[in-house]
């Protein structure tokens, strides 16, 4: 039978993480809560909402105190019709997994059911709303998790979020000679076929009007 992390372990770890985050950061206005997935096994993860200036402090706390060792993804979103204090948003997805280096010719075989405390795997989600404007910017976490490096490059390349302090920022998916300020996932850029409606309005030409339409016979 396959090993697994039970839902009780997951709930316990989520509760401990939320308590520890809230006791450390609630004075600063950061909110952390445990949120359950709405389908599948309904396991919980920790959702944190903070401001850009608090990001690095929270990231360091997560890495050093709570053992978060993996930065999975960085997602930027553009809300051109959003409110003045949420014109953009950056979402970080992080993971904690029980991983340690091993000696040569040995291996660690963990049983999910036996894990305790900070060893229980847990997912983290950090939302950072950014004010509307032309220059959304958050501090980089490139030096905290190396895995954030190319994720931040990609987010800047596609969405145009600026990561302050990011070393060696360059285009990764778009061509290197793309125009400055062109970030295709911003909402003002439409997929091109939106302009070519005639292709979809009458693909087979059935709507064609007869040449003598309107003429009295």
């Amino acid at each position: 039978m396959g090993t697994t992390v039970t839902i009780e372990q997951n709930a316990e770890a989520a509760k401990a993480c939320v308590e520890s985050l809230n006791s450390r950061f609630s004075d600063a206005g950061v909110t952390a809560e445990a949120v359950a997935q709405t389908s599948g096994k309904k396991y919980e993860f920790v959702r944190i909402i903070c401001s850009p200036s608090q990001l690095r402090a929270i990231a360091k706390f997560l890495k050093l105190e709570m053992g978060v060792n993996h930065c999975a993804m960085v997602t930027g979103t553009h809300y051109p019709e959003g409110s003045a204090d949420r014109g953009w948003e950056v979402a970080y997805h992080l993971n904690r997994w029980p991983i340690a280096n091993v000696e040569a010719h040995t291996m660690t075989v963990l049983k999910g059911e036996d894990l305790k405390g900070d060893d229980i795997p847990m997912g983290f989600e950090i939302f950072i709303p950014l004010p509307a404007g032309d220059s959304p910017s958050v501090p980089t976490i490139q030096d905290i998790w190396e895995g954030a490096d190319w994720n931040e490059k990609e987010t800047w390349d596609l969405v145009g979020i600026d990561f302050e302090g990011h070393i060696n920022m360059h285009r990764v998916l778009n061509p290197h000679d793309s125009p400055v300020g062109f970030h295709p996932l911003q909402r003002q850029h439409k997929i091109r076929y939106h302009d070519f409606n005639e292709m979809y309005d009458d693909p087979q030409g059935f709507g064609r009007k007869p040449v003598d339409e309107g003429r009295v016979k």
Binding site: G2, Q37, S39, F45, N101, E146, D149, I191
Partner: protein, 379 residues
């Protein structure tokens, strides 16, 4: 000797796809590297903003043409989280089996491509022969050979056909013996050992910090696998153990360990398949009509603004994530934003850095052992 930059790619046997590795060499020694990606960037994330949730599944199939089923499954899980859809247990079993058959096919494609890198052309013909058995099984499910469009939000498109279970059992049992044949071919081959052992070391902690996941990290001696750390589907009900390999050095796993762990992972997939086919609710030789509540539940088609969906999935090359925000165009039928984490997008720059200090001739061995796939990298 003066150092110089050489460019490997975009057309180079080492790349396994379209990308460029720029290598700075001093004689035969690599002193610096730079990865350049994006040659087949298709803008899938942007296209998805103009598609409704059911229309996105085929695009996710095409993210990785070697492992289409796992990517579609990963997307569908995130969409179910967003739309709050439940999946019947029989459908979860069918999805598990489809994903594990796909994992076998994907690892065989990797091994088949890795063999010629090292100079073993026999391996490619053997692996493609066996991969075709599993592609036939998937073709029976999805109707096409590579891009299946098989998982649905809330279940699967069709039930397994009558007799599929028997064919699966026969093929998996045959293949378990074939794995032994591969090992006889490879583990006693001097060329194979000399070219892979002691090359491309990477420790578990370094890899995880850089974002590398999946079999590459399990080769370094830890059995972390999202199939048990972030449980989904019915992996807790079938018989399996995460594949893990003892690294041969304190410097971490070398190319040989990464090859070994994938062979073990194929064995575990076989074990899982044989067990799942016995345990599937409703029986393996019954066929429910498409849309039957045993295999598909009705899911909402619109997601409200502010709703989010997220999935963590053990893809064949590492952990894939989908993050979806609801409330897009067509009054919520489209996602507002869909973001994809591709394991290889993070891994390739890391692998490029691990090559520093090795010889130019080691580059194909190191790169191939991490199993790159450019379709998912560039999205």
């Amino acid at each position: 000797m003066a150092e110089m930059w050489i460019t490997m790619g975009p057309q180079h046997p080492m790349t396994h796809g379209l990308w460029t590795l720029r290598v700075k060499i001093d004689g035969e020694t690599v002193t610096d590297t730079e990865a350049e990606l994006g040659y087949i960037h298709r803008g899938v994330e942007k296209i998805c903003e103009a598609r409704d949730f059911t229309q996105i599944t085929p695009y996710c199939d095409r993210l990785c043409y070697v492992s289409a089923m796992t990517w579609a499954h990963s997307y569908v899980m995130a969409a179910e989280d967003l739309l709050e859809a439940e999946v019947p247990e029989r459908a979860e079993y069918i999805r598990l089996m489809a994903a594990e058959v796909q994992r076998l096919a994907s690892h065989l494609m990797w091994l088949g491509a890795f063999g010629p890198d090292i100079g073993n052309l026999t391996l490619m013909t053997w692996c493609l022969r066996d991969r075709e058995m599993f592609l036939d099984l998937l073709q029976e499910l999805g109707g096409s050979r590579m891009h299946y469009n098989y998982p649905r939000i809330g279940g699967v498109k069709r039930d397994i056909p009558i007799g599929w279970a028997n064919r699966l059992k026969a093929k998996v049992k045959l293949f378990e013996n074939r794995i032994n044949e591969y090992e006889m071919l490879l583990d006693e081959s001097t060329i194979w050992l000399v070219r892979l052992q002691g090359v491309g070391y990477a420790t578990a902690e370094d890899q995880l910090d850089a974002g590398v996941t999946g079999p590459n990290i399990r080769a370094a001696g830890v059995n972390t696998d999202t199939r048990w750390t972030n449980p989904y589907s019915v992996y807790d009900q079938v018989d399996w153990e995460p594949a893990v390999e003892k690294p041969t050095s304190v410097k971490g796993a070398d190319c040989y360990d990464r090859y070994r762990v994938r062979m073990e992972e194929m064995r575990q997939s076989c074990r899982m398949l044989l067990d799942a086919i016995e345990k599937i609710p409703g029986g393996a030789n019954t066929h429910y009509q498409p849309g039957d509540e045993m295999i598909l539940t009705k899911a909402p088609t619109r997601a409200p603004e502010g709703a989010t969906g997220f999935s963590t999935y053990e893809c064949t090359r590492g952990v894939s994530n989908f993050y979806i925000q609801g409330g897009g165009d067509s009054r919520g039928k489209n996602p507002y934003r869909l973001s994809i984490r591709s394991p290889m997008f993070i891994t390739i720059p890391y692998v490029a850095k691990t090559m520093i200090g090795y010889k130019v001739a080691d580059i194909p061995a190191i790169m191939g052992s991490f199993d790159p796939c450019i379709g998912e990298t560039d999205r």
